[in-house]
């Protein structure tokens, strides 16, 4: 069974009389323990599709199943899907500047209602997984780009979500740090059984993937 399965998803942006179809009948699936790449040029609709797959953006039509369950697209239901199923990794890290590294990693746990020493313990464990336990008390501003992205990975995995969605996670990193991050995501799929979808346009990471989807002009094909 696929952990994530999108079927015939459409999304059109309207601005006055103008309509732009960002996603045209996209279908894709990711299984447990699988790492998939979604590749395509800028403006092809990757980010829009990622937002739909992450239950952040409602599609105009089509369906999305998470662990075999159809997503209920009511606004009030969406935050629950995001908490329960997803860990996100962004190109720009999106760490909260006022919080320490450990506190940033604790956020998903706090959203699940866990706080205090248990949350600290789990956060430190996640930081240990990405090799950043010694940086737990640092402010994000004191970290390098590669370290920030590893913190973002720790934050994505700390609440043990079954699906990881990464948007250009290596886009701001040099080759060495980029490889380190993609390797981590690969391990999350292989060792932890996560379903991982990475949006990238860097072909160097194709060897890390179990499958590659290509997106062009809103249409998705399996390469």
């Amino acid at each position: 069974m696929s952990l994530l399965e999108a079927r015939d998803v459409y999304k059109v942006y309207r601005s006055g009389a103008e309509e732009v179809a960002a996603v045209k009948g996209a279908s894709l699936s990711i299984d447990i323990g699988e790492l998939a790449l979604l590749m395509g040029p800028s403006g092809s609709g990757k980010t829009t599709l990622l937002s739909i797959l992450g239950c952040i953006l409602r599609p105009d039509s089509g369906s999305l199943q998470l662990a075999g369950e159809d997503v209920d697209w009511r606004e009030s239901a969406l935050p629950q899907y995001r908490r329960r199923y997803f860990g996100f990794v962004y190109q720009h890290y999106n760490l909260l500047s006022a919080l320490s590294v450990r506190e940033n990693v604790m956020i998903p746990l706090m959203l699940h209602g866990h706080g205090g020493s248990l949350a600290e313990e789990l956060a430190d464990h996640a930081l240990g997984t990405v090799g950043l336990a010694p940086r737990a008390r640092y402010a994000p501003a004191k970290l390098s780009g590669g370290e920030k992205q590893r913190v973002a990975v720790a934050r994505a995995i700390v609440a043990d979500p079954p699906i990881l969605l990464a948007d250009e996670p290596t886009g701001n990193l040099d080759s060495s740090n980029g490889t380190q991050v993609i390797t981590m995501l690969r391990e999350m799929a292989t060792d932890k059984g996560k379903a991982v979808l990475v949006v990238t346009h860097d072909a160097r990471y194709v060897p890390f993937a179990d499958k590659v989807y290509k997106m062009e002009d809103g249409e998705v094909t399996l390469a």
Partner: protein, 374 residues
């Protein structure tokens, strides 16, 4: 979310300091102004409130002590003989032209009471006793009025329209509600040394006998034509209301308090909103991670409450320090009471929560999908 609210708040200390200054400024202004207002209002009705009388009788349409018409002294006897009345005493409120030791002349309010009973007289003595007023030509000056009568001490012999005016004591608590000092004397001296008071009084104070039907007693007194009968609290309220509404004091102080509130509101709203806009991507990130609108808004509301608590605490300390300045609480009466502190805290809370409305509206509009955009 409390952690995030706190961390966001203290992360930019400069901005936090500005926010606290804004709230504290508003709190100080609201507390001092309302303290002055209540101090003033307590001053205008102090003699009434501390008289010990249940009832105050005056000429009809008397709005305040300064404009009371006089009553023949025989009316005191009439009230005293009314069934249900335990005692009745006259009280005068006149004016003296006092020549100070340095030769300057000032006007003083002279309250004439019966020193045998003390009703309507000073209720707390710092020096001397009101029994000393049995001697003609003697006066007690209130402590709060001493700065208005420079150089005056107990034992001084001053002059009032050519009459001897000997200071025999100092009272406490009768704060002047205008620029004229308050002095107490016996009715006899008052009638001898102030105009138009021969055998006349301004007010009759009366006590209802214990066990007597209070309402029936009041009704009996109300049969006196051209007089008004008030309960002590009713008359106190009437005098306060006069000064609050018929003069510019209520509006003036109210406007200043409102300005303080608005200045605080604007400063807090501006600093909170700019901080929110700076962190808007972080709020979008939280939404993308599954935080609900309520959870995100609660961080802003918690910040508003923390700002209100911190700003109020600092403002309250400053206001209390302000009260200790020389001349405060003597010439200018500043009365703080627990209700005032509670009321101003609620106002501060509303101010800060109101100031967070724009930030909350901004956060509610943020699109979680924006985190994927550069």
């Amino acid at each position: 979310m409390i952690l995030l609210a706190w961390k966001n708040l203290v992360h930019d200390r400069g901005r936090l300091a500005i926010t606290f200054v804004g709230v504290s400024f508003a709190v100080v202004l609201m507390l001092i102004q309302s303290g002055i207002y209540f101090g003033y209002m307590n001053g205008v009705s102090a003699v009434i409130d501390h008289s010990g009388a249940d009832l105050w009788i005056c000429k009809e349409k008397t709005a305040n002590a300064d404009t009371a018409l006089t009553i023949p002294k025989e009316e005191v006897l009439r009230v005293r003989s009314t069934p249900g009345i335990a005692w009745a005493e006259g009280l005068t409120h006149g004016w003296a032209s006092v020549r100070l030791p340095d030769g300057t002349n000032i006007w003083a309010q002279v309250i004439g009471f019966n020193p045998e009973t003390g009703f309507g007289g000073p209720w707390e003595m710092v020096q001397g006793s009101f029994a000393d007023l049995r001697k003609p030509g003697t006066f007690i000056v209130d402590e709060a009025s001493l700065p208005l009568m420079p150089g005056v001490r107990v034992g001084d012999k001053l002059e009032n329209w050519g009459n001897k005016m000997e200071i025999v004591g100092v009272s406490r608590g009768a704060k002047s509600y205008n620029t004229y000092p308050i002095v107490f004397t016996s009715q006899k001296t008052a009638q001898a040394q102030t105009f138009d008071l021969k055998d006349r009084v301004h007010f009759i104070m009366a006590k209802v006998e214990s066990g007597a039907d209070r309402e029936a007693t009041i009704e009996r007194l109300r049969k006196m034509r051209h007089y008004e009968v008030h309960t002590r609290d009713g008359f106190s309220g009437r005098v306060r209301s006069y000064w609050a509404t018929k003069t510019g004091i209520g509006i003036g102080i109210g406007v200043t308090m409102l300005l303080g509130f608005i200045v605080g509101l604007v400063i807090v709203a501006q600093t909170m909103y700019s901080a929110t806009v700076e962190r808007i991507r972080e709020y979008a990130t939280l939404k993308a991670m599954g935080a609900t609108n309520w959870e995100i808004c609660s961080t802003l509301l918690i910040q508003a409450i923390l700002v209100a608590l911190g700003g109020y605490g600092a403002g309250m300390v400053l206001a209390l320090l302000f009260k200790t300045l020389p001349l405060m609480d003597t010439v200018i009466a500043v009365d703080f009471d627990p209700q005032l502190f509670a009321g101003s805290f609620v106002a501060t809370l509303f101010m800060c929560l109101g100031a967070s409305v724009a930030s909350v509206a901004r956060v509610l509009r943020v699109d979680p999908a924006s985190v994927f955009r550069t």
